[in-house]
Assembly symmetry: C2
Homo-oligomer: 382 residues x 2
């Protein structure tokens, strides 16, 4: 990265290391974890934790697991998701799911096509296992010749949808096209849908599309981004029938089961989401997005490159030759933590140099304070 | 493994896969998770979950983390454990800690010395990263020339203490000797102490010994085996000062933080453990061990090879030429799940052929029923 205000900023810090520094900050809009307030209905579930614990204690694990996963998939519109035990592997978190998947992929493939930009722990986990990555830009994923998405030699294509940080959603027709091409070329299609709860456009039934195409697929589902449950959460690996990768074996090396209590909690939160909680969440994020944009409206040459994004993070293009790492460092010294976007652009960091990412899954006052601090920092430097 | 009663038993199933089949069994004494009853004091903490959630919501993460880890280390006698953020990495579970450590080790070492026997996910995770393993038998670890513990070319020595399934504890003087030899040879010493809560002999201050020796070390601590919190748990990686392995970096690829709620819960359970909960736990396990042994007392040639073990699993030497996989299969057909010990003996499976492992962290009635079923199965086959 860069040197600013006398503080040496490591050139090799990853996004999570930057987020770690924010965990005790006065104003933390760095990480994408869910840190908004509980709704009254969600608070009632938390108030009911002791009863939930009792219920989870006496239920069979496979039943608890199936119930929670069915409720979650229903809330997210994924009606054809296969809930069978052998095809729905519940993990402690989506990054644990990612690590398990990466281990299994590295057993078979030396080369993976990966969406660009995206959160850096995905390329870092894959590269750490000596997998070569080919960047797949969002424009190529969204339109044009589908064979551009399947470069020769690539055994697997990995797409985050909605994407982090851009919010870009892979539409149904395009997913169908890519899935059919993957089937034809016997390429494994991986989708990371961790942010889909925020965007109804990402809630068409992906599994119906994937099953129709008949391709080999893995989908990473996640509860961690949407509910402010103090990181009581689950990530899931959902597998096509004939996946032919040692995913279940690696899974069994890492875990036997997730917490039955967390499963019981996820079922309740998912039922609440289906019964109105999800639109309420989306409205809260939209309001925070408007708030952030309005606090920055008067700053010259600042703009929002993802006007249509609905995910819980917002990119700010700080323009005017301003440097995102410098702005990040200025804010950091004032106790406000955001993320500079360079590491998201894992194949070409400089593409991210003019972008800041601000998390929106926060109480509105936090987003507003972060927006004002960013406005002040950018105005002072302009 | 073997073929029994017409059912083909996969020759390649690992212990966790066998445990998975037991998750919905009538009588599951397969896995080593904590499934005994909550004590009244522990039940009070669970009843207080909503207040704990509120408390965790408003506290800073680093403070919560430090408080929980300090309470845990105090309860386990580890007073000199370094609680500094950079040296105490809290993970979702001990196996996630293991995976992170293995990834970091594979970056530097091609060869690791590993205790033999031990739970098979440890060798499986290491081998999955193409690390060669040298078995270190318990006798060599416990006595004799310490250089036998550090074969040439080995960059790291990995010891589970108390060991699973044998319960063997590495005594203080022997740890000191091995740690000094590791320092001298610049070998990294790894201890997995997940079962130490069961055995006061494993609660001398390991960190005092390690720091005095001055070796590079990693200790895996765990709350998952001791408290019946429905797998709300933590694993930890505790690092020596100059560890010089990319552990923190891999950690940040996998997680930003564990659940603040789980941290708050761990603090309360650790305080309860220090205030009498740990002796109560140990007494309960001792009682279940007596119960199991008494149900099997009349079966000819059955014996208990670990008379002094205090951990929450018990090995049964079924003797008389009986085969553990056959006994396991007979029991399985009756809805009783145990573990055959062959996979623990990762370097020489046949050494484990005459042993069954029975989990003791269960309600006494479950242990007794399992013991009776095992007695019946062994008597019928004798």
């Amino acid at each position: 990265m860069a040197i600013e205000g006398g503080a040496v900023v490591s050139t090799s810090a990853n996004l999570t290391e930057l987020e770690t520094r924010a965990l005790e900050a006065a104003i933390n809009v760095a990480d994408g974890h869910a840190r908004q307030y509980l709704t009254p209905a969600q608070q009632q579930i938390v108030d009911d934790f002791p009863r939930l614990f009792k219920e989870a204690e006496r239920m069979s694990y496979p039943e608890l697991n199936a119930r929670a996963m069915r409720a979650l998939m229903r809330a997210l519109g994924q009606h054809e998701a296969p809930i069978a035990e052998s095809r729905f592997l519940t993990c402690y978190a989506s990054s644990v799911a990612m690590e398990i998947l990466a281990r299994a992929l590295s057993d078979r493939f030396r080369s993976v096509g990966l969406i660009h930009p995206t959160f850096d722990n995905i390329p870092d986990i894959l590269r750490g296992l000596r997998i070569d990555l080919t960047p797949l830009g969002e424009p190529a994923l969204l339109s044009g010749d589908v064979s551009d998405v399947l470069p020769p030699g690539v055994g697997c294509v990995f797409i985050t949808t909605p994407n982090n940080p851009t919010g870009t959603v892979l539409p149904e027709e395009r997913l169908a096209l890519i899935a059919r091409a993957c089937e034809h070329r016997d390429v494994v299609l991986v989708l990371d849908t961790s942010f889909r709860g925020f965007d109804p456009r990402a809630q068409y039934d992906h599994y119906a599309v994937l099953e129709r195409a008949g391709c080999r697929y893995v989908v990473i589902e996640d509860t961690g981004k949407i509910w402010p449950t103090l990181d009581l959460k689950l990530g899931c690996l959902v597998l096509s029938d004939r996946i032919d990768l040692p995913i279940a074996r690696v899974y069994s090396d890492i875990l036997l089961n997730v917490s039955p209590f967390v499963l019981a909690m996820v079922e309740k939160f998912a039922e609440d989401a289906a019964g109105g909680g999800l639109p309420a969440l989306q409205a809260g994020i939209a309001e925070n997005r408007r708030l952030l944009r309005s606090t920055l409206a008067y700053v010259p040459n600042v703009s929002f490159p993802d006007p249509d994004s609905r995910v819980s993070v917002e990119r700010v293009l700080i323009g005017d030759g301003r440097d995102a790492v410098a702005a990040w460092e200025t804010l950091r010294q004032r106790g406000v933590h955001v993320l500079p976007c360079r590491p998201f652009h894992w194949a070409n960091g400089s593409e991210g140099d003019a972008f800041i990412r601000v998390a929106l899954a926060r109480p509105p006052a936090v987003v507003e304070a972060a927006g004002r601090a960013l406005a002040s920092a950018l105005t002072a430097r302009a």
